[in-house]
Amino acid sequence: MAIKKTKSNSKPSSNGNRRHNGGSQSKVNHADLRTYSIPDHRLEHPNLTVRQAIEKDKDGSEHVRYEVTGNLNAPVPPIRDSKYLSQQQCIEIYRYMLLNRKMEVALENLYKQGKVVGGVYFGLGQEACSCASAYALDKDDWFAPMIRNQGSLLVRGFRAADTMMQYMAKADSPTRGRDGTSHFGDIEKRNMVSPISMLGDLIPVMAGVALGARLQGRDIAVMTYIGDGGQSTGVTYEGINFAAVQNLGLVLVVESNLWAYSTPSEMQYRCKDIAERAIGYGSPGVIVDGTDACQVYDAARDAVERAHRGEGPTLIEAKMMRMKGHAIHDAAAYVPKPMFDFWKKRDPIARFEDYLVKEKKWLTAKENADLISEVDRVIEAEREIAVNSPMPTPESAEGGVFCEDGCHDIKPKYAMPKVKKGAGAGPKQTEAAVHLR
């Protein structure tokens, strides 16, 4: 924690002022009035509501189903112009989104061919959120994906073959077969922490990464993701709160994709928008359209720069919809079909393509077609690499439980911490009262 030598402990938070240490209660101090705001950058505010309803089948038997109400025919919003992104950067993000989707199509085909071990998790409809958020990070920043952020991995320099080999449990996969999906990491080059299947645990971990960097003299941004389902976990609260108290540069992207496995967001939380929860942490919260790459990038970049200034965490709620089931086995029959139709019209790639080709004219039709076929070729080449990797030997299940025999040389990532030495030549023999004797 940065200790400032001021008499007052009171600090304005970006979501209002909170008085610390008591003070006069008798008269109204305008500095104490709380003013909160949650910026919402969306160009539309879908008002769809999901609830459980009784439905009779043709035999008259009653079944509980989800039904959706609201304006399902609202016009599709445009892409919001970015405050920051250049033409070239927009095209690059678009290319990553294409890679993301086409990699997942390839994975679906590999699954159908029986080459995938276990299931496949898709980020369909969420490519803008994964790719544009990760694109906002600088090289020295860190990130940790969740299961659907396979696009973030591509942006941060992993190959599509890495993820494909994970799904196929291959010997050359980043975990050499020991785990699947996006569950891998790299603390050397790409500054990525591996996710685990339990939700929310990455949040304090990423706060700790920022803490470690700060002790080494660097304020970095640490980005991770959580869903509208995953944010129900207690460790989510613990992690954001820890980052807030310690002013650590956490950039938490809450992917509000409406469905947590089969449970709608209406059954996960009661507040209107998850971004409102940022108020409770004393941190900025912001809402973006998760299907709009420009909005996602701008909010993420603002949060990353805030982190670099050492000002603490930001919560970004990206609203969108998970356009497939939880995993490939799940047909998502519980989702009311009109919801799929509504969000299909808000496809992040189709809209971004229109924006670049028709609206901005930053890509000609031919350039766009060339880009798409280049991405197809890349994915095909990556698929070849992945398919041709051997399966691991049975014996390779052994070893590596501990870091031993010099397998890693552990040293500070950024710099040796500068230490200050205060009073006391050595630990003094303490006789203070203690909790239990």
Partner: protein, 323 residues
Amino acid sequence: MQITYLEAVRQGIWEEMDRDPTVFCLGEDIGIYGGAFKVTDGFIDRFGPERVIDTPIAESAIVGAAFGASLTGMRPVAEFQFMDFIGCAFNQISNMVAKTHYLWGAPAPLVLRGPSGGYVHGGPFHSQNPEMWFVHNPGLKVICPATPYDAKGLIKAAIRDNNPCIFFEHKYLYRRIKGEVPSEDYVVPIGKARVAREGRDLSIITYAAMVHTALEAADILSKEGIDLEILDLRTVSPLDREAIARTVKKTNKVIILHEHSRTGGLAGEIAAIINEEAFDDLDGPIVRIAGLDSAIPFSPPQEEHYLPKVSDVVREARRLKAY
């Protein structure tokens, strides 16, 4: 120099923070207050609030943050106010920290430490010995010292180790025992047991506060001509299989003594190791002395009944000697 067990832990952490700028502490009330047991008393003045961090009451965040910092090459030492509360961070430890090196090859050089153990009437949530929760988690080193010398040497070894270490300090021993500790720098190797008392008739395999219980019993029994050997495991994961086999081969009779509940306890694992390593050397049944299969109760007569006592060791040793 004769110092208490608590002082030994303090000195060990202090010296490592002095020696290595990547070492820092975090936990609840460890700063200005100096910790519930005063292990970090004075640390914040010496090392500053950047390296002695008071945290919210959020054990999963403490472990998560320690782990995250370790990934950047730091060596965090996280305090649990009582080891009973480590359960609040169980997922973070079991699924995040312990599996990291095996799954994706990142070393996590962190220490989770705090007071455990009974005999202080702390009640069911301030007296537990939760080490077995972690012995069954490959990827963690679990350390339970019994003496000031070992407490200091092992906390230093844990901080220098490239793996996650869980360090159980027995709160009954904190201020009750003193021992000789050298003034020069030293470490005690993790994973190595020590013979706390040489003997020829039967072996007590134990650790932490129970080492002292066994030593008391040995004094009583020596007057009857029963000569106990006492093996202090010091580290309960990884276990020192060779030392366990060696003492069984020497005395041929063995009692395993621990504070935590009997069912699923460490004695079962050690009995299995003896079965694998030294079955032919046994001249009697393997005897277990352990806590009851219940929560550890609060009221002193009940707590005393729950926990192993010197008289339990004396009784079982006599029975086994006569076998």
